[in-house]
């Protein structure tokens, strides 16, 4: 089927609303347009409010990245206040944030990504009966086990953050709940149980052994646990070269503690480079938004109520130095310099994105254990500060899905401007004024879609783990 157009939607097992329009030629995707179909207007809701209200409102942008939004808002307010969290408060905020990111990676792998391999389309493949038993939606044994393990891991939230999602525990000066010795030991018990599940079920082996692998050749020989099943499928279906990105990765640096971010900040474009966030702009040429291209500190959110024909998404198009960048776990691990991640990035397709997340689960378990071991009962977990009547702030964090930024302007004690660029705003950006497509739109070009079959397209889209409610917000 040559020259056909295919609209894929509702596109489920992604967080939120997504529509993908594909131009097909000779059984492959010739061009893709990504439409974020939900606009709520959070940036407008914040205008005129007390700046502290951002800590209540912005987490509710997203039920899956809620802590990430909290952390970015707390950092943005802190930067306006000239306030740093206490070292122990920063460590607890990092722990809470790491737990959410790991829980999100689990949700993605077991609930969103793997069920596609249990589809009848793959009947006859050597691994298919195992995929059915373990990953059939809402029934598979691995999926059900992961839901239980995730719920138990999130007991960390009950203890430190009151509840999940939507907590007010993370504040500019630290956290509202000071853990004592009892809490420390309870957290250790929860994390030990979680490690046991990871090593017994998901990885089928030691996390340290997994994260010590030097390259993708070693990875493909892992052969154990649910990870082994995924790698077997990936090798059979050629997922390494499916949906390749442009290889330009950005990370704002994850989990800032006293000594700096635990996973490094930076840019990777085949080699490491410095990250100049002043070079970030948002282009509105193909978004149903009105206004010029600007840095988010000067940005506005003015929806085009007429939804002009030359635009096709509510999502703005963020660019770094005029170029799109890919963000997420693989970007974070590449920027941090992990050899396995850098090896995977040489192809940068579906395998790299999913394996990047698995690598990060293994590495983050060690991070969480270290943060809990460092809890000192009686330490100061929160510093107090004063909100200025006028000021600006920037909060840059790493959500599960990648770089998240909040830019805030305070005038006469109220929020005068608030702009947010979420990870999927970067990854699922529409075209810019120069016609340059966003990272997903680029990754979809050339993907097989014979006779309108969209399974390969779905693998590519879900490999990014999009969060559409964050994207437009």
């Amino acid at each position: 089927m040559s020259g056909a157009r295919l609209v894929v939607g509702p596109f489920n097992r992604v967080e939120g609303d997504l529509e993908v329009t594909l131009d097909l030629a000779d059984g492959h995707v010739a061009a893709a347009r990504v439409n974020s179909t939900l606009y709520r207007g959070f940036e407008r809701m914040l205008e005129g409010r007390d700046p502290r209200d951002a800590l209540t409102i912005t987490p509710r942008i997203c039920g899956i990245c809620s802590i990430s939004q909290s952390a970015a808002a707390a950092r943005a307010l802190g930067s306006a206040m000239g306030l740093q969290p206490t070292p122990d408060g920063a460590a607890m905020a990092a722990l809470i944030h790491a737990v959410e990111n790991v829980a999100d990676h689990l949700t993605h792998f077991h609930l969103f990504f793997m069920p596609d391999f249990a589809r009848p389309d793959y009947a006859g493949r050597a691994w298919h009966t195992r995929a059915i038993a373990r990953f059939t939606a809402l029934e598979g044994s691995a999926m059900r086990g992961a839901i239980t393990a995730r719920a138990e891991l999130l007991h960390v939230m009950g203890l430190l953050a009151g509840k999940w999602p939507h907590t007010l525990a993370i504040q500019p000066g630290g956290v509202t709940r000071a853990p004592g010795l009892r809490e420390k030991l309870r957290l250790q018990a929860t994390l030990r149980a979680f490690r046991r599940w990871l090593e017994d079920s998901l990885f089928g082996g030691s996390l340290e052994e997994f994260s010590a692998m030097p390259d993708s050749h070693a990875l493909m020989r892992w052969g154990r646990g649910e990870v082994g099943l995924f790698l077997e499928i990936a090798a059979d279906l050629g997922l390494a070269s499916l949906g390749k990105g442009a290889g330009r990765y950005m990370s704002f640096g994850a989990y800032p503690i006293e000594t700096g971010p635990i996973f490094a900040r930076g840019l990777w474009d085949g080699s490491p480079g410095p990250l100049q966030t002043a070079a970030i702009t948002e282009d509105l040429s193909h978004a149903w938004m009105l206004g010029p291209t600007t840095h988010p500190a000067q940005g506005r959110t003015e929806p085009d109520e007429d939804m002009r024909d030359t635009a096709y998404s509510w999502c703005k198009a963020p660019r770094l130095g005029g170029q799109p960048v890919e963000v997420g776990a693989i970007a974070r691990q590449v920027v941090d310099g992990h050899p396995l991640a850098r090896s995977l990035a040489q192809e940068g397709g579906v395998l790299a994105r999913v394996a990047g997340r698995l690598l990060e689960i293994a590495r983050t378990q060690e991070v969480m254990e270290r943060l809990v071991a460092g809890i000192t009962p009686g330490a100061r977990f929160m510093a107090q500060g004063v909100m200025p009547r006028d000021g600006t702030g920037e909060g840059l964090v790493e959500a599960a899905r990648g770089a998240l930024g909040h830019w805030l302007r305070i005038e006469s004690g109220k929020i005068a401007g608030y702009q947010i660029i979420a990870p999927t705003t970067w990854n699922f950006s529409p075209r810019d004024a120069a016609g340059v497509p966003g990272p997903l739109e680029t990754a979809l070009v050339g993907v097989p879609a014979e006779d309108g079959a969209t399974l390969a397209v779905q693998h590519v889209v879900r490999s990014f783990d999009p969060c559409m409610v964050c994207t437009v917000h």
């Binding site: 609209v7 894929v8 939607g9 509702p10 489920n12 097992r13 939120g16 609303d17 997504l18 529509e19 179909t37 939900l38 606009y39 709520r40 809701m45 914040l46 007390d50 502290r52 800590l55 509710r60 942008i61 997203c62 039920g63 809620s66 949700t107 069920p115 596609d116 249990a118 059939t136 939606a137 809402l138 059900r144 839901i147 995730r150 719920a151 138990e152 999130l154 007991h155 939230m157 009950g158 203890l159 009151g162 509840k163 999602p165 939507h166 907590t167 007010l168 525990a169 504040q171 630290g174 956290v175 709940r177 000071a178 929860t190 939804m307 509510w314 009686g378 977990f381 929160m382 107090q384």
Partner: protein, 328 residues
């Protein structure tokens, strides 16, 4: 077998994320054991694109029986009344249109979360997307569906309000409906099994409350009613007697209850974490408390605050333990 369809309208998806925290048993087993068959859920089901469209069309044509319709999120009516701020992708139709079409076909309609119930945070701050709840616009009866509307089963929209909802509130509502039990609702159509309780019940700060030993800053242990915006004495919910995520709740986490089960909680007209005061006196009374008595008791109990409570109230951990008494 009870059939259930779940749609995510204009919201954050957090009530589904919270629902996945259901324990003993986990969500898939709980639904299966209650005899609930999930026809489709945007985050959990396998069907995408054309498969999902044909499934929705079969329900709309009445070919697939629908017992329970769950809607998570507010209904976006903008821009200009078109509903195009949220299109159901691939269908060329708004979610507003889909929900209006499917609601009359279901035996029961459940609004999951405060957005679906009342508009919630999606309708905050001037309501940029002109969002409403299924059967309420904030505190006003009538939303997407009119005030007198009833589902085929005879009930109005069941408002499982909360931001997010507790997984137990949702699963127990669904189990009651699937079992054919009577589900009593309160004045805002919330299930009474959790809405007849106050967040204050079982709050770990109760003793501080009794003596008006107040926290001045977040992270301090004292009662948060006087200074930090806590309205747990007015908010419905069994949050402190039914723990969240193991052993949590907002007040156990050291931050105030913001009354997220109530309509219009999103716009309190003051900062969420600061109690509004008139001439130094906090505004707002505990539910069912006569004002004069509250003022009298508060000033009396404040004068009687034990030293232990006064000091612990402004610390972030217990600095003065209770005095030991010998048994008689």
């Amino acid at each position: 077998m009870t059939t259930m369809l779940w749609l995510q309208t204009s919201g954050c998806g957090g009530c589904t994320m919270s629902l996945l925290c259901a324990e003993n048993p986990g969500l898939p087993d709980l639904l299966a054991d209650a005899g609930i068959r999930l026809l489709w859920h945007p985050a959990l089901s396998v069907e995408t694109g054309a498969e999902a469209r044909s499934l929705l069309e079969r329900i709309e044509r009445g070919e697939t029986h629908l017992d329970i319709l769950c809607v998570e999120g507010a209904i976006a009516r903008g821009p200009k009344g078109t509903g195009r701020y949220q299109m159901l992708s691939g269908t060329g139709r708004s979610l507003m249109d889909w929900v209006a079409s499917l609601a009359p076909l279901a035996t029961h309609v459940v609004a999951v979360g405060s957005c679906a119930a009342f508009g919630g945070v999606t309708a905050a701050g001037g309501n940029p997307s002109d969002a409403v709840g299924l059967q309420y616009d904030g505190t006003h009866p009538g939303g997407l569906l009119p005030a007198g509307w009833r589902a085929k089963g005879g009930l109005p929209v069941i408002n499982v309000a909360g931001c997010p909802t507790h997984p137990g509130w949702v699963t127990e509502t669904l189990m009651m409906l699937a079992a054919g039990e009577v589900l009593p609702l309160d004045g805002y159509q919330r299930p009474r099994f959790y809405a007849d309780h106050l967040v204050h019940h079982g709050c770990p700060k109760n003793e501080f409350y009794e003596y008006k030993a107040s926290a001045r800053e977040l992270s301090q242990m004292g009662c948060m009613m006087e200074n930090l915006g806590c309205i747990g004495t007015q908010a419905v919910g069994d949050c402190n007697t039914r723990p969240w995520n193991g052993e949590g709740s907002c007040t156990k986490g050291g931050y105030p209850c913001i009354n997220c089960t109530a309509p219009e909680f999103e716009d309190p007209r003051h900062a969420f974490t600061e109690t509004p005061k008139i001439a130094g006196i906090p505004v707002g009374l505990p539910t069912d408390m006569p004002k004069a008595w509250f003022m009298a008791l508060a000033s009396l109990s404040k004068a009687a605050t034990p030293d232990r409570l006064g000091r612990n109230a402004v610390a972030d951990h217990i600095v003065v333990p209770p005095t030991l008494r010998k048994p008689k």
